[in-house]
Amino acid sequence: MRARPLSPHWTIYRMSRYSVLTSLANRATGMVLSVGLVVLIYWLTALARGARAYARAQEVLGSDLAKVVYAGVIAAFSYHLVAGIRHLVWDTGRGLEKKQSQRSAWAVIVVAIVLAVVCIWWAFRAREGV
């Protein structure tokens, strides 16, 4: 395998505090979503195996720890969605100036936090007692 070109390592590259926060957060939330994908597949597989297997899986999927994971996945999704859209806009060549990217970094953080809070509140209110 040929060596692929790498992005600058945070250990040797001096990034602005904006790119440190948004770039690392996008990768971190992406990894949380990968864990969420595993949970989704586990849930679907339990359903496919029948009512009794699903009831057994419910002991794990309905636990308090699982609820923390669901909230984490929703928050990660909110951030990754908003930050991902920022990346797609960048890919069209727009918004790459220093000032613009600093402003969009703030916008991403604020919108993502609001979206995460609203979605978690909405999901947990809809699923009260489940």
Binding site: H9, L44, A48, R49, A126, R127
Partner: protein, 128 residues
């Protein structure tokens, strides 16, 4: 024998030798995952209940089974590409790096296979 000149063969392939393929597929899957991800989250929250019968009849529907399968394949692919970049950037030991990349690829394919199979099993043979 190809009539392409050596320059024509390598043009656009870049340092990794495979051009912008990784970058492009990551973007394509990202674009697809915007509506698919929002659809899945909204569906899971607005379903009337999360009991076995409700879920099985929801997943077994034509639209849900199709979109859910597409979501699983797209999300697994996007996840594989994203993790690949993270591994390439932060795992410096060559052997460990190659091992992690291969393992991550295997795990993602198995995940996607499990997910799509589960959806199809629910859709075709109701496991009630």
């Amino acid at each position: 024998m190809s009539l392409q000149t050596p320059l024509g063969k390598v043009r656009g392939l870049g340092a990794a030798g495979n051009g912008v393929h990784h970058w492009w597929v990551q973007r394509l899957t990202a674009v697809a995952l915007v509506p698919l991800g929002v659809w899945l989250l909204v569906s899971l929250v607005t379903l009337p209940a999360l009991d076995f019968v409700t879920l099985v009849s929801w997943i077994g529907g034509t639209w849900t089974a199709t979109l859910l399968s597409v979501f699983i394949l797209t999300a697994s692919w996007h996840s594989r590409l994203g993790l690949q970049v993270i591994i390439e950037d932060y795992v410096h030991d060559q052997g460990l790096k190659t091992t992690s990349l291969v393992l991550s690829g295997f795990v993602h394919i198995i995940l996607a296979a499990f997910g799509v199979f589960a959806v199809l099993r629910i859709a075709f043979g109701s496991p009630l």
